[in-house]
């Protein structure tokens, strides 16, 4: 693997706004990162120069807009809380782009890829959908409740079909996003519905997924069952984000691999759960 370029940048915040509930949307200027970023890669942000939080925090690259890098995040603890209080014009210390993103074939070939997002896991997938748009990606969005369904509009704007599942049934299917996926594949197998899932079942495209670990594990099982490829983006606690500390490993058939360096995107069949 060739060494990829990355940069440490004092990046000016262009905006930082609440989307809904605890979800925020932030953009900063970082031309050099913007230029190289690929879907599925992430940035590692130092949100404050104090000891709390001490370490950087990783965030998927949500989208690139010219020289701006955008992220989408949920406030879950100290660092994300501090981040949410930052104002336009303030600076962030950002390292990126980091990790290996999703790999996809030229869009002509990858017909109707299936993108599965669980909760905040949607973050890297709009950027991916943009790249795959000629393949008419199908988006399956899962969340606990309607208010936590993110990016539906953005996907539709690009021109993707979106299906939704919520745990409480407040929007779309009542159940897990993996139920959507199963229904979708099962139906295609039976030939019951129009064969949008056919390219997937024939190995001509793949599932691209990001979300909570149990969801990704379930998708791995599904992928295995149907003998299809699933590229999944994993999370692990990170100390360095650049492959130096060996902290963020995941068990794979090749031994422990670093989520921040060999990942965060892995072939689901590589992972030992």
């Amino acid at each position: 693997m060739a060494l990829k370029k990355m940069f440490q940048i004092k990046a000016k915040i262009k905006f930082n706004k609440r989307i809904q509930g605890n979800y925020f949307y932030l953009a900063f200027s970082a031309a050099r990162i913007a230029k190289l970023a690929l879907p599925g890669q992430f940035v590692n942000i130092r949100v404050s120069d104090s000891c709390e939080p001490l370490l950087r925090r990783p965030f998927s690259i949500y989208r690139i807009n010219g020289a701006s890098v955008e992220i989408m995040y949920e406030v879950v603890g100290k660092a994300t809380e501090i981040l949410s209080e930052k104002k336009r014009g303030e600076y962030l210390d950002v390292i990126g782009p980091l990790g290996n993103g999703f790999s996809y074939q030229p869009s002509a070939v990858s017909r109707q890829p299936v993108i599965v997002a669980g909760g905040m896991g949607v973050a890297p997938l709009v950027f991916l959908a943009e790249k795959l748009v000629h393949g008419k990606p199908i988006i399956l969005l899962g969340a606990k409740t309607k208010k936590q369904v993110l990016c539906e509009k953005e996907f539709k704007k690009i021109g993707c079909g979106v299906k939704i599942a919520t745990d409480d049934g407040s929007e779309g299917l009542s159940g897990k996003v993996t139920d959507l996926l199963k229904g979708f594949l099962g139906a295609a197998e039976d030939g019951r519905v129009r064969s949008v899932a056919k390219p997937l079942l024939r190995g001509r495209t793949a599932i691209y997924a990001c979300g909570p670990r149990p969801m990704l594990k379930e998708i791995s099982n599904i992928a295995k069952k149907y003998k299809i490829t699933a590229q999944i983006s994993l999370e692990e606690h990170m100390a360095c984000g650049i492959g130096a500390c060996l902290g963020c490993v995941v068990k794979t058939k090749k031994g422990f691999l670093r989520v921040c360096k060999e990942g965060p995107v892995f072939d689901s069949e590589e992972i030992i759960w």
């Binding site: 060494l3 440490q8 000891c51 360095c240 130096a244 060996l246 422990f256």
Partner: protein
Amino acid sequence: MQKNISLNIGNLRLKNPVMVASGTFGYAEEFRGLVDLKKLGAIVTKTITLKARQGNPAPRTCETPAGMLNSIGLENPGIDKFIEGKMPVLTKLGIPVIVSIASDEDAQEFITLAGKLNKVSAVSAIELNISCPNLRHAHKNLGDRQLIAQDPKVTFEVVKSVRKITNKVLITKLSPNVTDIAEIAQAAEDAGSDAISLINTFTGMSIDVDKRIPKIASGVGGLSGPAIRPIAVRMIWEVYQKIKIPIIGMGGIIDVSSALEFFLAGASAISVGTANFINPRAAVEIIQGIKEYLAESKIKDLKNIIGGLKT
């Protein structure tokens, strides 16, 4: 006026006293592009063992107040693959490479490891990691103690046995998990170590109270970062009173001010650890900051402030 910040550790000449600590800088290549690696005083590699080690399951790290716990479990490719695969890249950096080694079962391994490194001319020094909290009971004479560096006799024995077979500069890395650090440092000096590195991490534990499990998979891990700095500085000061060989100080150094605390307490050189994760340029910024401090304080040579604490 030119300020001198170069120094010797045994026969090893360092152009400046700022190294990067074992296990916190990978094999340097990970930092390429973020740091001008050539500016570093030296790089200490991740600790290498005889056989490859796959390390511990994840999560391997967690943040704690002003610090972090890690239990990497000494994941490394083993000495042969290291020499073959990593040393050439390190050598090309043109800065001194200090190879950290540990024995994961048997103290005899240290001799084997050092023997292999003897043959690699690009290895500037060997650091004996006898203090890794993720390697327990690595010596038959340890009794109730968990680490070699917790027992002055075993420390003496291990350092001596390596000293006998190598002319390379030998550094012994000590553990802070002891009652009397100066006693262990003394044992290492008596056994012929050229320098002392301290401190390695404290054994610590952090609990996820909702899940009622430890935050890192292996339960206990090593505590590093600014949180431990006052203890590290005190230990350097204690050891400095007792031994004559140089001390390489570390533990929570994040900027020039924290680095200077170590010099004033008696360190001849310092190592930047956890701070590399937070700010990859930390070590290089510290080098620059030391020069500025000397200029402002009108001090010609960094040596003049080593142990210069007024009490």
